[in-house]
């Protein structure tokens, strides 16, 4: 008999609409209850939303599975049910083995405590025993490279040191099943790369991993199989490259003429953010992914709404292809450009000369942040950017397989 590591059957989770917004107060509950008794008012009808609906899947031991989907598709809800943080409304899950859950970096950290104390505390919170933490303590500290600051309270750590230590504790979590949510979306590029490497080790280590991410590159690098969630249901479950292709193609198709609101592509709604992207347009086109010719000049216009004064903020643009590979990253400080804007509406124009992309469909990620080490103000993911077609004037053989991402102009001669 074979056993699955995870078996989820018809999982559903229902939230009351707006449940997270205002807190109830005892005073109000008592007074409205009283009024209702006196005047026989009907209680207001509650509206419910299904964050997850009839989700079933099985994961074999040692399998590494990606979970992708838009903001609000139910990915995090699924992880929270699997990790028992929240209860399902319906359905059943069977898990074999200890479950470790990494929903954020630094779970259980307390700023007043020292690095050493936090390693123990965070380890215990994540489910390690004291003996296990003690055994792996040196490894954890070595990976984080904070040896000389072990007895300093973490509130004095730089954000980079803090992240390294926090991730390192999490990365040494030794459970049979590991649930990971987007923890790689923090830190500088070098650290992200090391985290990815460590995650790769974990994935190859024979453990069962469920990995939620918006980063299609990371998902395709780490997983063989991916679940694609949309509006709380699994729309596709299969080999990662196929599922990622479908996911990106979907956002392109759906954008089409109707055009999805920009909030659909936003990674998360952050009410404190000083700036939001309100529109992304290419050239003079007002919506949808326009068709452009390879080798052309491309102008991307970002409509921004600034709520609080920005000074020295960076804009990062990442262009991706249908496989989720990053084709290029355009980082505004590289071109001596930063955002210094007063509150109000603004338009930022970026001109890319000589767009040397191979024919195909391309997507854009936009990030606005103060520095690469701090949390981004605004992140837009997988916005359908352009459909690039070959320029007939330049290319003779149009319908060939391109097998590449770039087209260079070349000169031939015989020497």
């Amino acid at each position: 008999m074979t056993y699955e590591a995870v078996r989820a059957q018809t999982l559903s989770k229902r939230y009351r609409l707006g449940e997270r917004l205002p807190y109830k107060s005892l005073r109000e509950t008592v007074s409205t209850g009283f009024r209702r008794i006196v005047s026989r008012e009907e209680p207001p009808r509650r509206e419910w939303v299904w964050a997850l609906r009839d989700v079933s899947f099985k994961v074999s031991p040692g399998e590494v599975v990606g979970i992708i989907g838009r903001n609000g598709a139910g990915k995090t809800t699924l992880l929270k049910i699997l990790s028992r943080i929240t209860e399902p409304t319906e359905g059943r899950v069977e898990l074999r083995g200890r479950v470790g859950c990494l929903l954020e970096v630094g779970t259980g950290f307390h700023p007043e405590l020292t690095g050493r104390e936090n390693v123990y505390l965070s380890g215990a919170v994540l489910g390690m025993t004291k003996a296990e933490i003690a055994r792996r303590f040196d490894e954890i500290v070595a990976f984080a490279e904070v040896e000389s600051f072990l007895d300093t309270p973490v509130k004095r750590y730089s954000s980079g040191m803090y992240l390294r230590l926090a991730f390192s504790v999490a990365a040494h979590l030794d459970t049979e099943i590991l649930l990971v949510d987007e923890v790689l979306a923090v830190g500088d590029a070098a650290f992200q790369k090391r985290c990815l490497g460590k995650m790769g080790d974990v994935a190859r280590g024979g453990r069962t991993v469920l990995f939620v991410s918006h980063d299609m590159g990371a998902v395709s690098a780490l997983t063989q199989r991916t679940l694609y969630l949309e509006s709380g249901t699994i729309v596709m479950d299969g080999p990662s490259h196929t599922v990622i292709g479908r996911y990106l193609a979907d956002s392109l198709a759906r954008n089409g003429a109707a055009g999805r609101p920009i909030s659909y592509y936003r990674r998360e709604e952050n009410r404190e953010s000083p700036v939001k992207v309100r529109s992304i347009t290419v050239g003079s086109q007002s919506e949808g992914a326009p068709t452009v010719f390879t080798g052309e000049r491309l102008m991307i216009r970002l409509g921004l709404e600034v709520f609080r004064r920005l000074s020295g903020a960076n804009v990062t643009l990442v262009v991706k292809n249908l496989q989720g590979q990053r084709v290029t990253t355009v980082f505004s400080p590289d071109h001596g450009f930063t955002l210094d804007l007063a509150p109000g509406e603004h338009e930022v124009r970026v001109v890319i000369e000589d767009l040397s992309l191979a024919p195909g469909e391309y997507f854009l990620d936009v990030g606005i942040n103060q520095s690469t080490r701090t949390r981004a103000f605004e992140v837009i993911l997988d916005y359908p950017l352009v459909r690039v077609v070959a320029n007939q004037r330049l290319v003779q053989w149009l319908d060939r397989p391109w097998g590449a991402v770039c087209v260079f102009s070349a000169h031939w001669e015989i020497g």
Partner: protein, 286 residues
């Protein structure tokens, strides 16, 4: 061979739980190490954040004792069972301060741990329990001072001092029960936070900390209410019992102590059930 060896792994089943469910003792026991970590963290942070550190644990009941002695002992001449008033009030304040601190901390604990509760699973009851147990450490720090006071006034404990831990246990049960109720209510209703200090203050006045229960009993008798009714406030049994055990005063009547014990048990059991019925949705509400 796929799945080989995994059969031996413990099976965890996640299902919607029924609303009325008692505590999962087995699960709580398996998380005992985390409970110790939480207690350790709370104490460490509390002592680090206050200028006076651990001295604060002694200073609080001592200052209250000094003020009570001046106003109630000297000015109002509140009787104190024939004992010097400072000793009388400090004995009561020891267990009372534990209860007030433990309950207050426990009531805030869940909301204060919102960040943790939404990011990782553990039995939620660990959080208020750790707050209550942390109060015991403060009690232990403040306790030796009563021996000094007893030596100063020439009062020697008898064999019944052996019962003192029983009353501390009763105080722990009461604080845990009230703490479970308040912490869970606090998640659902955010104005509970403002009610807690007020509630504890009122509770002090209906508990014989400042005055002896022997002052209130005759009044009850006059209106025809049996004395054990006072014991429905479990802290009456705790304070009277603890004082009798340590200082050797005439103890509280047995029926009053019984009423306190049963009342504490009722609060604890109902608190556990209420907490469990609400705990399943904490992460959605916090």
């Amino acid at each position: 061979m796929p799945g080989h060896g995994i059969a031996a792994q413990k099976l965890i089943v996640i299902e919607p739980s029924s609303r009325w469910r008692g505590p999962a003792w087995e699960e709580l026991w398996s998380y005992r190490e985390l409970l110790l970590f939480f207690i350790w963290r709370d104490i460490k942070v509390r002592y680090k954040q206050t200028v006076l550190g651990a001295a604060w644990a002694i200073l609080q009941p001592v200052l209250a004792m000094v003020i009570f002695t001046i106003f109630f002992g000297h000015m109002a001449r509140v009787p104190s069972n024939g004992l010097p008033y400072p000793l009388f009030s400090y004995a009561g304040l020891l267990v009372w301060t534990f209860f007030a601190q433990a309950t207050g901390q426990a009531a805030q604990s869940l909301v204060g741990s919102a960040q943790l509760i939404t990011k990782v699973f553990f039995p939620r009851a660990l959080v208020p329990t750790a707050a209550v147990m942390g109060g015991l450490v403060d009690l232990a720090v403040a306790s030796p001072l009563i021996l000094l006071l007893m030596a100063r006034y020439g009062v020697w404990p008898g064999w019944h001092v052996l019962f003192a831990p029983v009353y501390v246990l009763l105080a722990v049960a009461t604080a845990e029960g009230v703490g479970l109720w308040l912490s869970a209510l606090n998640v659902e209703y955010r104005d509970v936070r403002y009610l807690v200090p007020f509630l504890i203050q009122l509770w002090l006045f209906v508990t014989p900390v400042i005055y002896p229960a022997s002052l209130a009993l005759p009044m009850l008798k006059r209106v025809g209410v049996p004395g054990w009714v006072l014991g429905l406030n479990p802290m009456v049994g705790v304070v009277e019992g603890f004082r009798a055990a340590v200082l050797g005063t005439t103890g509280a009547p047995a029926d009053l102590l019984l009423a306190s014990t049963l009342s504490a048990a009722a609060i604890l059991i109902s608190g556990t059930y209420y907490f469990r019925s609400v705990a399943r949705s904490f992460a959605d509400v916090v």
